[in-house]
């Protein structure tokens, strides 16, 4: 059942107005206006989203709202109609984006209170949210790509927000370029779908229409399209091999990190895979690749997070790891579980970043956990909210992360990926370890804060703590919409999404309680290990690091993936650019042609200029010769 | 062949009329101005006192009409050093010739029937006579221009330049006036124009062009005076400034030719005004069969007499107008050169254009002149 609902456009209009206002009038009208408008438009969009979401809930299963806009491209039989569409899947996403986004915006008011460039900051933030909303609301894949590109651009702008620092600007550029690689795959994926359908005379990019004609797409084409699109997703959602930009993105302001990691951008890949579930269902090989990459990324990033000293870097790798879970989920066919994890992750990871921001704010920009400790008493609200978020991410039963992660692991196991399940379960332990390492090092133990900063460590203002508290509530209870089957309202979330993403069909029978117990047990083990290492025996990690120095260094240096990329991609590229293209092609061939043309013209001109006497009669004489010639020609024609 | 002979006779007749009018104007110049200025004027030459013996006052008429030309044509023809001999000689001819050939298109009477043969009293019955007028008047510029230049004299050159500029400027006003007239009558043929001025309006008012095109009349009058370079437009000659302008280095017969040109132009102007605006040879209320007086009375007149009356009417009108032009010459002071140009370009030309425009509207609105 589809219902036209024009107010959907407002969800885009409000942030767009915010962008325009902040861009053109923000700096002129001052901080007060910007602080009102920047988060204000997001809350308005949130309100409209809620309205739309309530309407969807009120509809029978499978209902959707749509809002046609205008015909964008028209070329022969191919045309693209712009339109917005909200069904169960995009409804959840739009709620997450506007909801979490709103609170991050609100938090930013406090966080950016001392920054001069607040207007530019909120312009980018609004634009970021706008792009993500376009991505989510799009009813066709091309419009989705517009949003896809938009978030890429905004991430570049925001990561390099403090562009006067060359390193920050470099990191912004890195994010942009790595994203471009993925985007190339995405475009090719779109074209693959288009050509596969056009081959059968169907010219469309609309999701609903693609789905209704999905049978026309062959397995090979579906696999190719799925893999190419997934390449885009690895770029945007920071999966192996294109995850390298995300940890470096930490140089932007912390609310930006929260926005990137929780509400926008990185979840785009997961959303895309879930949105095109019908395509992936046609291509089991592509699904397997997605699940494998997801599980590997989850484990791989988790291990790096273990040794990182920078608080935001730990969170960044944890995001990469959690995103790996999501891809494991959608790759196993448990699309609802993946999206469920997107939602819960938005709550707790947004909260974690905001808390980390609060800590950094309190310590005047200090991000090294070796210079923290014992902040529990000084930052009570931050501590408690962050603790709740940590419980959620480590999947302590009852908290939101528990339900979603459980469903993913269950899906992985039941779809027959035993090894991937095992890897995911181990990663749960790793998660428990590095998250509690973060909590213990930051809030417990001896204070290692530098003396001159210690005396004005203070709790953040209410404009920052209120979003923390709100998000903490959701991080705690947000998972209850997906209670295990048979308990109270059962798996309401999956039932809600099933008209869009279909029901999960297990291939292998398993006991959910057993799987859950193993994963939770491994998580508890990780927590216990962290407790032992960082509270009971603080010397132990140092000894371990000394004993296994090679491994420790490898982890600390992120498996030297960046260096590897430098070696196999960047340096050869530079070499070819400089030695072959620059010195060979550019200077010799192109410059030679250009200069040669110039030389020929110059020499020719030098010879020809002698004919230019400047005397009009000489010119007239030559003209006359021409006239005589023409007359002679006609004479020839006549006489013949 | 008869036609050619008749045409030649008529042409000679017309030129003679023109020349005699010029002589009359010469006389008027002398005695008329004297009258206006309250002096006697030319009074010395009375051959053998012929007139006085008969008790007549000394009119000086012989002096003016005979002695002056005699003196002029017997004087030495002097050409200054460095002058262009050929052009110096050619210039007076170039000035006079176009004016004299213009006379032939002026109709001086209706058809006349003698011995069963009907003659049109117009030397050359051109059907584009109005254009012919403009062409010959345009060519007349070269006489004075070259006369001034060929004399190798600064005064003469200045006079020549002034004359040229003045004549081509006022030619435009003249042309515009004539265009309005052409539009009114809907023809280029002067005889037809005069014919259509026969008859009356409201039972008594002659259908003269003056009542239809009063503005064109004033324009043509002004421009005609300027064309003939007479006071108040005699700046090219300007005795007090340029001695005698383009004529300064001329003497004898050549100078007489230039003088004559001015008088002939004056006569021509008068004839054109009469032809265009004063009914030409038309006598008020006189038709082919006699006078039709406003009251309804008809006085029968013999056809031959009607034709002769027409010729007389034409001559009378021309003489009266010539006299009027002479009056103007001795009444108005001379313009300054900038005033002259301003009057021409900012006064007459816009007025002429407006007149043409209004005429065009009326002609179209009343369904054409045909």
């Amino acid at each position: 059942m589809n219902v036209e609902f024009a107010a959907l456009a407002l969800i885009l209009v409000f942030p767009a107005l915010g962008v325009i206002f902040n861009l053109f009038f923000g700096a002129r009208l001052g901080r007060g206006a910007v602080n009102l408008v920047g988060p204000g438009v997001m809350f308005l969009a949130f309100a409209v989203s809620t309205w739309a979401f309530v309407k969807i809930l009120a509809m029978p299963a499978g209902g959707a709202l749509y809002c046609p806009l205008w015909r964008w491209i028209e070329a022969g039989s191919f045309h693209v109609e712009l339109g917005l569409r909200v069904d169960a899947l995009s409804g959840v996403m739009v709620m997450v984006v506007t909801g979490v986004g709103s609170f991050i915006h609100l938090y930013s008011v406090g966080y950016m209170a001392h920054d001069e460039d607040y207007a530019r900051f909120f312009t980018y933030m609004n634009l970021f949210a706008l792009s993500m909303l376009i991505l989510v609301l799009a009813d066709n894949i091309l419009m989705m790509f517009v949003g896809w590109e938009g978030v890429g651009l905004c991430s570049y702008l925001l990561i390099a927000f403090w562009y006067t620092n060359p390193e920050f600007a470099y990191n912004g550029r890195k994010a942009f370029i790595v994203n471009r690689i993925g985007d190339a795959g995405f475009v090719l994926g779109i074209l693959t779908i288009l050509s596969a359908l056009a081959h059968h005379g169907v010219w469309t990019l609309n999701f609903v229409e693609i789905q209704s004609h999905a049978g026309l797409i062959g397995t090979t084409a579906a696999t190719a399209a799925g893999l190419l699109l997934f390449l885009g997703a690895t770029g945007k959602s920071a999966q192996i091999p294109l995850y390298v930009w995300l940890p470096d993105a930490m140089v932007g302001p912390t609310p930006v990190s929260a926005l990137i990691h929780a509400a926008t951008m990185v979840t785009a890949g997961v959303y895309m895979v879930a949105r095109l579930n019908f395509l992936y269902m046609l291509a089991p090989d592509a699904m397997a690749v997605v699940a494998t990459i997801g599980a590997l990324t989850a484990f791989f990033a988790g291990t790096i997070a273990i040794v990182q000293p920078d608080i935001k870097r730990v969170l960044a790798y944890s995001t990469v790891s959690q995103l790996g879970y999501m891809f494991l989920g959608v790759g196993s066919g448990a699309f609802a579980a993946g999206i469920f994890h997107v939602m819960t992750h938005a709550f707790f990871k947004g909260l974690l970043f905001l808390c980390a921001g609060s800590v950094i704010h309190a310590l005047e920009g200090e991000q090294d956990m070796n210079k923290m400790g014992a902040l529990r008493k000084r930052l009570p609200i931050t501590f408690w909210t962050m603790f709740i978020a940590t419980l959620a991410i480590t999947a302590v039963p009852g908290f939101s992360g528990y339900f979603s992660k459980d469903l993913i692991l269950e899906g992985a196991y039941e779809s027959g990926h035993f090894w991937l399940w095992l890897l995911g379960a181990i990663t749960a332990g790793v998660t428990g370890f590095y998250m509690f390492r973060l909590i213990f090092m930051t809030f417990f133990g001896e204070s290692r804060v530098e003396a001159d900063k210690l005396h004005h460590v203070h709790e953040s203002p209410p404009v920052m703590t209120i979003p923390l508290i709100v998000l903490a509530v959701f991080a705690a209870i947000g998972g209850w919409v997906g209670l295990p089957e048979g308990l109270l309202w059962g798996d309401a979330f999956a039932r809600f999404l099933s008209p869009v993403v279909g029901n999960f069909k297990p291939a292998v029978e398993a006991s959910p309680a057993m799987l859950s117990a193993i994963a939770t047990g491994l998580g508890g083990l990780g927590i216990l290990l962290a407790y032992v290492c960082y509270l009971r025996m603080p010397g132990l990690p140092v000894i371990a690091a000394w004993r296994a120095k090679a491994l420790y260094d490898l982890l600390l240096e992120k498996y030297r993936i960046d260096e590897l990329y430098n070696l196999i991609v960047t340096r050869p590229l530079f070499f070819i650019s400089d030695q072959v293209l620059n010195r060979g092609v550019d200077r010799m061939v192109i410059d030679g042609a250009a200069n040669g043309a110039g030389l020929v013209v110059e020499a020719g001109g030098e010879a020809a200029r002698r004919a230019e006497t400047g005397n009009v009669q000489h010119y007239a004489f030559v003209y006359l010769l021409g006239v005589i010639g023409i007359v002679a020609y006609y004479l020839y024609l006549v006489i013949r | 062949m008869t036609e050619l002979v008749v045409g030649a006779i008529e042409a000679i007749l017309m030129v003679l009329i023109g020349l005699h009018l010029s002589i009359f104007l010469l006389y008027f110049e002398r005695k008329g101005s004297a009258l206006i200025q309250d002096r006697v004027g030319a009074n010395r030459a009375a051959i053998t006192g012929f007139g006085r013996k008969l008790g007549m006052p000394n009119l000086g008429i012989v002096n003016t009409l005979v002695a002056d030309p005699l003196k002029l044509f017997t004087k030495e023809d002097f050409v200054p050093e460095g002058a262009d001999h050929f052009l110096h000689g050619l210039a007076p001819f170039l000035a006079l010739f176009p004016v004299l050939v213009t006379f032939v298109v002026i109709p001086f009477g209706d058809t006349i029937t003698i011995a069963g043969q009907t003659f049109n009293l117009q030397a050359a019955n051109l059907n584009a006579a109005a254009l012919y007028l403009l062409a010959t008047i345009g060519i007349g510029v070269y006489g004075v221009a070259l006369g001034g230049w060929a004399s190798n004299n600064r005064w003469a050159l200045l006079g020549g330049i002034r004359a040229t500029a003045q004549m081509i400027s006022y030619e435009i006003a003249m042309g515009l006036a004539i265009v309005a007239v052409i539009m009114t009558y809907g023809t280029l043929d002067l005889q037809e124009m005069v014919r259509s001025q026969g008859g009356v309006w409201f039972g008594f008012l002659p259908r003269w062009g003056l009542f239809v095109q009063p503005l064109a009349f004033i324009l043509l009058l002004t421009a005609g005076v300027a064309e003939s370079k007479r006071v108040p437009f005699d700046l090219p000659e300007g005795e007090s400034e340029l001695i005698l302008g383009y004529m300064v280095e001329y003497s004898g017969g050549k100078q007489a030719a230039f003088m004559f040109t001015d008088f002939a132009e004056q006569a021509l102007t008068a004839m054109l005004l009469v032809t265009f605006f004063l009914g030409g040879w038309q006598v008020p209320w006189l038709y082919r069969d006699g006078f039709h007086l406003p009251g309804g009375h008809i006085i029968a007149v013999a056809p031959l007499l009607v034709s002769i009356l027409g010729i007389v009417s034409f001559l009378v009108k021309v003489v009266v107008l010539c006299a009027f032009l002479g009056l103007v010459r001795w009444t108005l002071p001379r313009f300054r050169y900038d005033q002259l140009m301003r009057l021409g370009w900012k006064g007459l030309v816009p007025l002429g254009l407006a007149n043409v425009l209004v005429t065009a509207f009326i002609v179209v609105a009343t369904g054409g002149a045909h």
Binding site: R609, R610, E612, G614, N615, Q617, A620, L624 | -
Partner: protein, 100 residues
Amino acid sequence: MVSLSWLMALSAAIFVIGVGGFLTRRNILVMFMSIELMLNAVNLAFVSLGSRLGTMDGQVIVFFVMTVAAAEAAVGLAIIISIFRSRETVHADDLTLLKW
């Protein structure tokens, strides 16, 4: 009736005389006059052909040629005066500024 060939021959002769004048005279004013000669030769050809064909088009074109010649004379002579003011000469072979 004069043969059309003779009329065209007259036109050609005047045209060629104009061309010759343009090529051989130094004075740009006289060169200008030679151009007028050429224009008139062409006008004569137009009128003659139009007269033989019985159409008014030839005459209309002559009318336009005259108008254009008037405009050309006005501007051209103004240019010659400007040149004379700055260079004190009207000889074509002294006016060779437009060369290498």
